[in-house]
């Protein structure tokens, strides 16, 4: 099913939940709503589910406006962070409850419940009550309950936030595989950018009720439209340094105290001559070189955080701080003088006032 939001707005008095949100979701697509808590992503989801009535704008399913349609008429399945299983019913009863309300024939109901239970690996738990299950099992039942009704649209509201890290990882993969196999259009709300990046076909980044970007994970990562997206997406987060870009002859220089690098013309032409701009560079796009090497910017190691595969090294250059992902075999130590080499093909520039990108806006 195709979903379209048109200028969708939800306000409670002067409190804004979602403001003027417009986006399209293709049939079978997996879309993530990503943003910090309180940004309006769950509000939007609940409007799509029909729990909240929009203050303005439209929700369209396959072109049809569904603003006034009751939740039960929309044929959506939803998975909640708190699982929201019915504690007085067994797993089986939980699974068949939506079908019972739809008056599905008894044998088909049983068949579907068992098929979904097998798919979710909860077949042996059918007679238990939710209180007797672990968090992961409960979440599987909740997912199963959303699937048994064969919905046209699946909604996920931070479904993995209550699980431990290892389980989250495996459930992430399972949900993605399931969605792909069943081909059900899905919307997944999360504040975890890794979940959004790994699972979604397209990501809608939201901030304070406004849609910031709506594009594929790659584009979001490589071509951030503004400073917020650049800082929010990616872990460890992007480094930001205030500096000035100037053009001398045919070369572009990015400069600040104790800091000068040559940047490519296609990246920096818009940033040149604007006064102070914000340069962004991801930790993996900076390389540590020994202080003795001739090239790069000289700095001093301030902190080293071993992450296992990499070390996260915080290098101070004057009063600027740059985080770098470094090879642990380099044995960088606190206080060491080092040189940093920047991958200038990956550098981003943002206007220091509007915070818009000077590359992709």
């Amino acid at each position: 099913m195709e979903v379209r939001l048109e200028n969708l707005t939800k306000r409670w008095g002067s409190v804004v939940g979602t403001e003027d949100m417009t986006l399209d979701i293709k049939s079978g697509e997996f879309v993530a709503f990503l943003g910090p808590s309180g940004c309006g992503k769950t509000t939007t989801l609940l409007m799509i589910a029909g729990i909240y009535k929009p203050t303005a704008g439209y929700v369209r399913f396959d072109g049809k406006i569904v603003n006034r349609m009751q939740p039960k008429e929309r044929n959506v399945g939803m998975v909640f962070q708190s699982y929201a299983l019915y504690p007085h019913m067994t797993v089986y009863d939980n699974l068949v409850f939506p079908m019972k309300l739809k008056k599905t024939p008894a044998d088909e109901m049983k068949q579907r419940a068992h098929r979904v239970a097998d798919m979710m690996g909860i077949g042996q738990l059918m007679d238990r009550k939710p209180g007797q299950l672990s968090g992961g099992q409960q979440q599987r039942v909740a997912l199963g309950r959303a699937l048994t009704k064969e919905p046209d649209l699946l909604l996920f509201d931070e479904p993995l936030s209550n699980l431990d890290a290892r389980l989250r990882l495996s459930m992430r993969g399972e949900i993605k595989r399931l969605q792909l196999e069943l081909g059900i259009t899905s919307i997944y709300v999360t504040h975890d950018q890794v979940e959004a990046m790994t699972m979604a076909d397209r990501i809608a980044v939201m901030r304070a009720g406004h849609l910031q970007a709506y594009c594929s994970p790659d584009e979001l990562y490589e071509q951030p439209r503004n400073l917020f997206i650049a800082g929010f997406v990616g872990n460890p987060p992007m480094n930001f340094v205030m500096l000035e870009v100037s053009r001398e002859d045919d070369r572009y220089y990015a400069r600040r105290d104790g800091f000068e690098i040559v940047v490519s013309s296609e990246r920096s032409s818009k940033a040149a001559g604007r006064g102070e701009v914000i340069m962004g560079i991801r930790p993996e796009d900076v390389t540590i070189l020994p202080a003795s090497s001739g090239e790069g910017v000289l700095g001093e190691v301030y902190v080293v955080e071993p992450l296992g595969r990499d070390d996260l090294v915080d290098v101070h250059i004057g009063d600027a701080s740059i985080h770098v992902l470094a090879d642990p075999t380099l044995k960088t130590r606190i206080g060491d003088p080092v040189r940093l080499s920047f991958n200038t093909e990956k550098i981003q520039f943002f206007d220091s006032e509007t915070e818009h990108s000077l590359l992709w806006a």
Partner: protein, 294 residues
């Protein structure tokens, strides 16, 4: 040495509150003991029965035909009031907790004010209302079991007691509903429930302990109620136990306290047994329904 002192302190820590509680409950316990002893004796001197033990005081059970009628009335009153309060409070509580409608806050404040209104001040006004209802055909005083809703009927008393207890019930139920997560409600609505089915099939079973607490509470209140039935029921045939007990003292003949004790005990026993089995649920009222959620 150290070990000894630790256990000493521990013992003291349990002993002191225990002793205090014993001292405080002693008068009540003695009262109960007195009642039990005096029901089997002609008179008592202190706690000591005078003369031979006797069953004479219990003779009302087989000599007064009214006692069973009165007992039945009391049961009808308690059960009727309980059903009414649970049904209305849980519906109203759900609406107040889950649905936003204009005037909701004002309604909640109003019920609180009504709750603090002493029933005695309303007696005369209620009397006129009940007299007026009596004049309505059938509904007034010609219904099976409860007799009707007018003056001098058990139904009328049920209605008045219900009205006076509803504010408390509605607030309690609202509290229990507030503790049920919104996600569960949303899940029910998305799974295909309307508000009524979500209330009945999903939320009500979840707050069952709370409902039990309210039901027990209003049953016990109804069983012991005196003022309303005493005021609005004129003859003994429609009366309830507490009023019957009072009538034993009102006669010009010398009062037989032993008989009163026996009737009192007769009224007390069912509710005591009931309480022993249900006190755990009753505690939910004071826990504010924290057990109501998941």
């Amino acid at each position: 040495m150290n070990y000894d002192r630790a256990t000493w302190r521990e013992r003291l820590n349990t002993a002191i509150p225990f002793t205090l509680l014993v001292i405080l409950t002693l008068p009540i316990v003695i009262g109960y003991i007195w009642i039990i002893i005096s029901t089997f004796s002609r008179t008592t001197y202190g706690l000591e029965p005078q003369g031979r033990l006797t069953l004479d005081n219990w003779s009302f059970l087989w000599e007064d035909p009214n006692i069973w009628k009165v007992t039945l009335n009391t049961i009808i009153l308690s059960v009727g009031q309980t059903i009414g309060i649970v049904a209305i409070s849980s519906l109203a509580g759900y609406a107040l907790s889950r649905i936003r409608f204009p005037g909701r806050k004002g309604f909640l404040a109003m019920t609180l004010i009504l709750h603090s209104f002493p029933a005695v001040t309303l007696l005369i006004a209620i009397y006129f209302v009940l007299r007026w209802i009596t004049n309505i055909p059938i509904l007034g005083n010609d219904l099976p079991i409860i007799g009707g809703f007018g003056y001098n009927t058990v139904g009328g008393v049920i209605m008045v007691q219900l009205a006076l207890q509803l504010p408390l019930g509605v607030w309690l139920m609202k509290g229990f509903f507030d503790n049920v997560s919104w996600d569960m409600q949303r899940a029910a609505l998305i799974d295909g429930c309307g508000h009524f089915r979500a209330w009945w099939q999903i939320i009500m079973p979840v707050i069952r302990p709370g409902i039990a607490a309210l039901a027990i509470f209003s049953f016990i209140t109804g069983w012991g109620s005196f003022l309303i039935p005493y005021t609005f029921i004129a003859d003994q045939e429609h009366s309830v136990l507490a009023a019957y007990l009072r009538s034993l003292m009102g006669d010009t003949a010398p009062v037989s306290y032993s008989t009163i004790a026996a009737v009192g005990l007769f009224q007390l026993i069912p509710v005591m047994i009931f309480f022993i089995f249900t006190q755990e649920y009753l505690m939910n009222i004071f826990a504010g329904g924290s057990k109501g959620g998941t």
